[in-house]
């Protein structure tokens, strides 16, 4: 695709009714970390439709294999899984060569982080982070272990459902997204104040990875499918030029 055929087109307005609002009092930390004034809505300029690009030179060969990328004395403990899917835009087009980064707790629900003090043990063979680039069809995959649920200080009985954090770039800074993957069938999702910051139940469903038996590896590992949708772009721009020339 070349950009010379026409002026670059702006992204669709982000659908704020499907996104979590800043202030969600049941997720207590949001109360003092949410802007109170309205956001200033901008039409895109070059500053928003451009964004950082990455290449395979930025990555190492095992970066998407969490079973191997931090093993010292053997494989990590836990249920071995594949997490895979496609990164698409709202027009249904693949988002190729875009950076996808993940991080997660180990099978016991403990993060390898100096600030995590949960009593479940660190796994010496599990770092808990990975990264990859989507291919030309927008496809990505990781090998990892299924993370454990863990308690956190919100209400005294708050537990995070098993989840994997995802960071995705797209081609423009306006598409930048961080989200979380949940697992099909987890009863903690409906009770989680963070998952439930999203007001639209259909939108919450979009964060639930589905068991994908046909992509599983017999006698080795199950697979979960998780497609990610980034903001799409207008295809024509006759009236609103982004740049003057």
């Amino acid at each position: 695709m070349t950009h010379k055929k026409g002026p670059p087109a702006e992204f669709y307005q982000r659908d704020r009714l499907r996104q979590p609002p800043a202030l969600t009092p049941d997720y207590k930390t949001s109360v003092t970390r949410s802007p109170q004034y309205a956001l200033l809505s901008l039409e895109n300029s070059l500053s928003e439709i451009t964004g950082p690009l990455f290449s395979h030179n930025d990555l190492g060969p095992q970066d998407n294999d969490l079973l191997k990328n931090y093993c010292h004395s053997g494989d990590p403990i836990g249920e071995r899984i594949i997490v895979h899917g496609r990164v698409l835009d709202e027009n249904g087009r693949a988002v190729p060569n875009t950076l996808v980064e993940i991080w997660q707790a180990n099978a016991g629900g403990r993060y390898r982080h100096r600030n995590d003090t949960y009593l479940a043990p660190i796994d010496p063979n599990f770092g808990g982070c990975g990264r990859t680039l989507t291919d030309e069809e927008g496809y990505y995959f990781f090998r990892t272990v299924k993370p454990g649920a863990y308690p956190w200080r919100n209400w005294t009985d708050s537990w995070r459902p098993a989840h994997i954090h995802f960071s995705v770039f797209g081609s423009g800074f306006a598409q930048r997204l961080i989200t979380q993957l949940y697992f099909e069938g987890d009863p903690l999702i409906a009770r989680c104040p963070i998952a439930q910051t999203i007001p639209d139940p259909d939108a919450v469903e979009q964060l639930i990875a589905r068991l994908d038996v046909r992509s599983s590896v017999p006698f080795d590992m199950l697979a979960y499918r998780f497609d990610i949708v980034l903001r799409g772009r207008r295809s024509t721009l006759f009236e609103n030029r982004l740049e003057g020339n």
Partner: protein, 202 residues
């Protein structure tokens, strides 16, 4: 053509560093962490340091914040094919910045960007685009950093001009300081309160 809905955002949480800055989380895993070098060694322009702190609604520093920066080079060119103009070898214009876990202070080194094309034949004053995530922030907050020594360009900037309450424009302007070590701009971000920073829905 099928239309899909954007995947909803979730907070980056307190352990965002594991994924995006594992060295800060306390371990080495990748050969190279991303986002440390914004401008690269060959970039022209004034070398500057930006420093600041992000404050919550009680006035306390947010010590687990992560900020991404995106900027043009000194000529106002973005390192992206849809800009299409040249940038220096090694100039990416993107970086990742984390706060000190004990103080909440952060800083990064870069070059001062040039003016960039705005909509409808306007010019945008030099600015750095920022994206802020942390525990308690449900969807990343976008804002812009402008420069206090660009009075004329700032006065003509199409985005600053959109801010209805003129005094709030100052929340986006970093203050320049010069000393023996070089040029530093201070940029404090207030998530809430009377000095609340102007955040953007881009």
């Amino acid at each position: 053509m099928d239309t899909l809905n954007e995947t909803p955002s979730q907070t980056a949480g307190p352990y965002v560093h594991i994924g995006l800055a594992p060295g800060a989380a306390g371990f080495q895993i990748f050969d190279e962490e991303l986002g440390h070098d914004i401008a690269g060694p060959n970039a022209k322009g004034e070398r500057i340091r930006i420093e600041g702190c992000v404050y919550d609604g009680t006035g306390a520093p947010i010590k687990d914040v992560l900020i991404e920066v995106w900027q043009a080079n000194a000529d106002g060119h973005y390192a992206h094919p849809e800009d299409g103009r040249k940038v220096e070898d090694g100039f990416r214009g993107w970086g990742r910045v984390i706060a000190d876990f004990s103080t909440g202070e952060w800083q990064f080194d870069t070059i001062k960007p040039g003016t960039t094309p705005g909509r409808n034949h306007t010019r945008q004053a030099p600015h750095i685009n920022l994206w802020i995530v942390a525990r308690g922030i449900n969807i990343g907050l976008n804002t812009r950093l402008y420069f206090s020594d660009e009075t004329k360009a700032n006065a003509e900037d199409p985005v600053l001009s959109l801010i209805e309450q003129a005094h709030r424009r100052n929340t986006l302007i970093a203050k320049r300081h010069e000393n023996k070590e070089g040029v530093t701009y201070r940029f404090d971000i207030h998530i809430q309160g009377p000095e609340e920073t102007v955040f953007l829905d881009i």
